[in-house]
């Protein structure tokens, strides 16, 4: 697997447009700043994942189709990023979807088949909408090439394409497939899907909004901002309720996609309203967050794969105390978690900070709608930031800290060195980008210039100017990191000199009782229950306690507690929609399958008329 991915690097060879002509179709490829950014992003993260998979993939050696599929999966994403005409784009988009579908159903079993089907369905609804967008573009420009699409897309085209891409990105009303599909795939595939694939939808949106878009539709930016803020909040709120580690991470992907969408929304709005510096900073936040989320999420998914591999469970209520058995993995996991829950000296905070700055900037603009919606977005973003801290404290605390809850967790061992290296590289990059981002910001300036026509200042000590010429604020991560390290050293050596160094190992205090039952620790469900109770309107949870009726209260031999957390969108939109669809199709079925040939001919005539009407009134 890994060797195959290295061949990807050879693609960097060509610089200008490349057209492969065949008898009936032309494939055309072109590198621009945006596609180069995505190619580097995809290939570097997939290299980390493939290093990880050298050892982790051994358990799939008996069924090696995994490696073939994933090779084509990554290749199709890379070619997608460099394709320069509509047909190439759609073909590789479809290939990406199909190979990821094959990988979702790879492990087999009822659960993954169900998830795979849902994914297949949703992603194809998305593809239909994207295709519709492209067809409308073709009708407008009568060309397949992206070169002719610049400034051609009107509001209908943008709406269709963005809806299609948001399904792939897992933005809130369309997210239902994501928490099912990401956890059932093998961990390295989940890492690719969550770290990379969802970002291809962002690529499409950036291409449509900033390259193809014909100009001003500022309300579209506001819609994206609101959708993103909702996904950010609800995604992390649902993540908090999960027991399955990978499901928690999948919901967190929805949150981060929401944050990226917020950035895109602000940037597009600022572009339409001509607030230059807000546009650039929001775009910087988007690009940085793509990188940060890709790095930390892929490392966390790989880590969760290792937990699964060495303990045979992903349920955090059955884990605990892994930090003692998997010390190095837990350190890497901790840094990944700090990065993704936006803790200051790391990279996650950097992109969120730029997003906050652009949100404050759009409040400054005094534009009525944007002020209103950015205040809401600031509230939702800060709430989701704190909730992310809670969700990931739960993940780390329940899984890695405390005492092992079951024998599975007790028997865990430190993962193989190659697996740890695969996680360590993205984690190291998280720290590097967090502490010294200036290099990467000055490189990203090329992409920002391609998309928006301007650049941001990457000088470490020049303050951010958001709206007027006056400097507004500055977050100098290098300075903060140095201050943290210096103060830490001073405190450490002060205490080394002036305090007792004696240490005693003793058992945990449990009110003087001798507590042997490790299940008496705080559970993950208990951890999040108080927050969930306050925000109970977001969940439609059903909990139930079953016990024997006739036995006295304190002598029950057995009581069963079940809790079910339902997605409100699933419960109130998707399941009713499914029922409605079944009902309607039954009616059609009855009507269409009549035995009478005259009726069938009548339908034929009717559909012809409908086609004529569509041709005359819509297409022409």
């Amino acid at each position: 697997m890994s060797a195959a991915f290295f061949t990807v690097l050879s693609i960097y060879g060509f610089k200008n447009e490349l057209i492969i002509q065949s008898s009936f179709i032309n494939f055309s490829f072109k590198f621009d700043a945006l596609s180069l950014f995505f190619v580097i992003f995809i290939s570097s993260i997939s290299i980390f994942i493939s290093i990880f998979s050298i050892k982790y993939g051994e358990k799939y050696d008996k069924k090696p189709s995994l490696f073939i599929y994933s090779f084509f999966f990554v290749m199709s994403m890379i070619i997608l990023a460099i394709s320069n005409d509509m047909l190439t784009f759609l073909i590789f988009w479809e290939l990406m979807s199909i190979f990821s579908f094959l990988l979702v159903i790879y492990e087999g079993g009822e659960e993954s088949r169900k998830a795979g089907f849902l994914y297949f369905l949703m992603t194809h609804i998305g593809t239909i909408l994207i295709t519709a967008g492209f067809i409308m573009l073709y009708l407008k420009t009568s060309s397949f090439s992206f070169d002719y699409y610049k400034g051609a897309a009107g509001i209908m085209i943008l709406a269709a394409a963005i809806t299609g891409f948001s399904i792939k990105a897992g933005i809130m009303p369309f997210h239902t497939w994501l928490p099912y599909a990401h956890p059932v795939a093998p961990a390295n595939i989940s890492a690719i899907m969550s770290g990379i694939m969802v970002n291809m939808a962002i690529y499409g949106i950036l291409k449509f909004l900033f390259v193809f878009s014909s100009g001003s539709a500022p309300f579209l930016g506001i819609i994206l901002l609101v959708l993103g803020a909702l996904s950010a909040l609800l995604g992390i709120m649902y993540a908090m309720a999960q027991k399955d580690i990978k499901k928690l991470l999948a919901f967190s992907t929805i949150e981060n996609m929401g944050i990226i969408f917020m950035g895109i929304g602000i940037s597009y709005w600022a572009k339409a309203e001509n607030f230059k510096s807000i546009e650039y900073f929001a775009m910087l936040a988007v690009l940085l967050h793509i990188i940060n989320h890709g790095l930390s999420k892929s490392s966390l998914f790989m880590g969760s794969g290792l937990i699964d591999k060495y303990t045979h469970t992903r349920n955090m209520e059955k884990l605990g105390g892994l930090s003692k058995k998997m010390r190095q993995l837990s350190i890497l996991f901790l840094i990944g978690i700090m990065s993704i829950s936006a803790m200051p000296p790391l990279n996650g905070f950097l992109s969120e900070w730029y997003l906050y700055i652009s949100l404050i900037g759009s409040v400054f603009t005094g534009n009525l709608y944007m002020v209103y919606f950015s205040i809401i977005a600031i509230a939702l973003l800060s709430l989701s930031g704190a909730a992310a801290g809670a969700a990931f404290t739960k993940l780390f605390g329940i899984t890695f800290l405390g005492k092992p809850r079951t024998v599975h967790a007790e028997n865990a061992i430190e993962p193989n060195i190659i697996e740890r290296i695969g996680i360590a590289i993205p984690v190291f990059l998280c720290i590097y980008i967090g502490i010294y981002p200036y290099q990467i910001i000055s490189n990203l300036n090329a992409v920002i210039f391609y998309l928006t026509g301007g650049t941001v200042n990457s000088n470490p000590f020049s303050a951010v100017h958001i709206i007027s010429a006056r400097p507004f604020s500055l977050y100098a991560p290098a300075l903060i990191a140095i201050a943290l390290a210096a103060v830490l050293l001073i405190v450490f050596f002060y205490l080394k000199l002036f305090s007792s160094d004696k240490k005693r190992i003793f058992e945990t205090w449990a009110c003087g009782l001798d507590e042997k039952n490790s299940k008496a620790q705080y559970s993950g469900g208990g951890f999040s229950s108080s927050i969930m109770k306050v925000f109970s309107s977001f969940y439609s949870s059903v909990s139930e306690i079953n016990f024997e009726k006739d036995v006295k209260k304190y002598f029950r031999s057995k009581s069963v507690y079940t809790e079910e957390i339902n997605d409100i969108f699933e419960k109130y939109i998707y399941i009713p929609a499914e029922k409605l669809y079944l009902k309607v199709s039954e009616i059609f079925n009855k009507a269409a399958n009549s035995q009478n040939i005259n009726v069938s001919l009548g339908y034929l005539f009717l559909s012809l008329i409908v086609c004529f009407i569509i041709y005359i009134f819509i297409i022409r």
Binding site: A390, P471, S500
Partner: protein, 326 residues
């Protein structure tokens, strides 16, 4: 505003930093003493918390046998993240050491960093108390973080500055212009600081484990928030956590004092006066907090969201008021 560091700024910045650190246990002890006297008890020595810290440093550390590396590093990181906030915060001098990068959102997230490590510490020993404390701590943080960020961002919008040093200097200058020189400045508003002060007061009470939300003196499992997190800590770890909580209280009180009456020295000659004013303001705020703690009963946990949503609404109103067209 531009930052030109010279040796004077550095020296006064260092003096300011260490003064706040040294004063922090005094403020906490003062509140404690006031509460005890109001209850009719004799009360502790005002400097008791210094003695406690010194004693804790001399004691041995008892680590749980289930503890991991988190127990070793978390006390330091919690303490250091408060110290870094203090490095950014101006108290009685216009510049602070890290003033150039003292962004308000950074301060809010640094507080979250401390909470993050404190709750991880709580969960490290596998004690049910720790899990309970961590759960409750995040419960409060999730609810109070939006209002804290709203307070900071409305200050930023009100003054059109993003750095906390600049924000308070701007308010101070505007107020001085208006009241001393009679210049009509747009930086003068009574309503916004008033609303922000009340809002920050509520957030400060909930974040600093004060009655009506939490009682800092209790070790009863039903009522613990903050104490449940550090129940397993001992020796210098406990000392760091305790000192960290004094520092956190001081951070909140300092921001409140600056909203209440922004007076900071702009040169070295004003330092004595501004230091006295700072301590006076802090003592007034301490009396206020002690008063609230004495007269109010402790709330049920699930009524705390109501209190915090009041604070959120007040900060929202302040933010709306502070939006003035550009």
């Amino acid at each position: 505003m531009t930052y030109n560091y010279n040796i004077q700024h550095l020296i006064i910045g260092i003096i300011q930093f260490f003064t706040i650190i040294l004063l922090a246990p005094f403020f906490a002890g003062f509140i404690h003493k006031l509460k005890q006297r109001a209850r009719g008890q004799k009360g502790i020595n005002i400097f008791q918390f210094y003695i406690n810290f010194n004693k804790l440093l001399k004691k041995e550390i008892v680590l749980s046998k289930d503890a991991t590396f988190i127990s070793e590093i978390a006390p330091y990181i919690v303490f250091v993240s408060y110290l870094v906030i203090l490095l950014m915060l101006p108290a009685f001098y216009r510049y602070s050491l890290l003033g150039v990068s003292s962004d308000v959102i950074l301060i809010a997230y640094s507080l979250a960093l401390a909470t993050f490590f404190m709750t991880l510490y709580a969960m490290d020993q596998g004690s049910a108390f720790g899990g309970l404390g961590a759960s409750r701590e995040w419960f409060l943080t999730v609810l109070s973080e939006p209002s804290l960020i709203f307070i900071f961002i409305s200050l930023a919008i009100y003054t059109k500055q993003g750095r906390i040093t600049d924000i308070f200097y701007f308010i101070q200058k505007g107020a001085a212009d208006a009241f001393l020189l009679g210049v009509n400045s747009d930086a003068v508003s009574i309503a916004i600081p008033f609303l922000l002060f009340i809002s920050l007061f509520i957030v400060g009470i909930s974040e600093n484990a004060r009655i009506p939300v939490d009682n800092p003196e209790t070790h009863l499992e039903l009522t613990m928030f903050h104490e449940a997190n550090i129940l397993e800590a001992s020796g210098k770890h406990l000392g760091l956590f305790e000192y960290g909580s004094y520092l956190k209280l001081t951070v909140f009180l300092t921001v409140m004092s600056l909203i209440l009456f922004p007076y900071m020295a702009v040169n070295i000659y004003q330092i004595p006066l501004s230091l006295i004013v700072y301590i006076l303001k802090m003592i007034i705020l301490c009396i206020l907090i002690a008063g609230v703690e004495i007269v109010s009963p402790k709330m049920r946990v699930f009524r705390v969201p109501n209190l915090l949503s009041v604070s959120f609404m007040l900060s929202l109103i302040a933010m709306i008021l502070s939006i003035r067209g550009f």
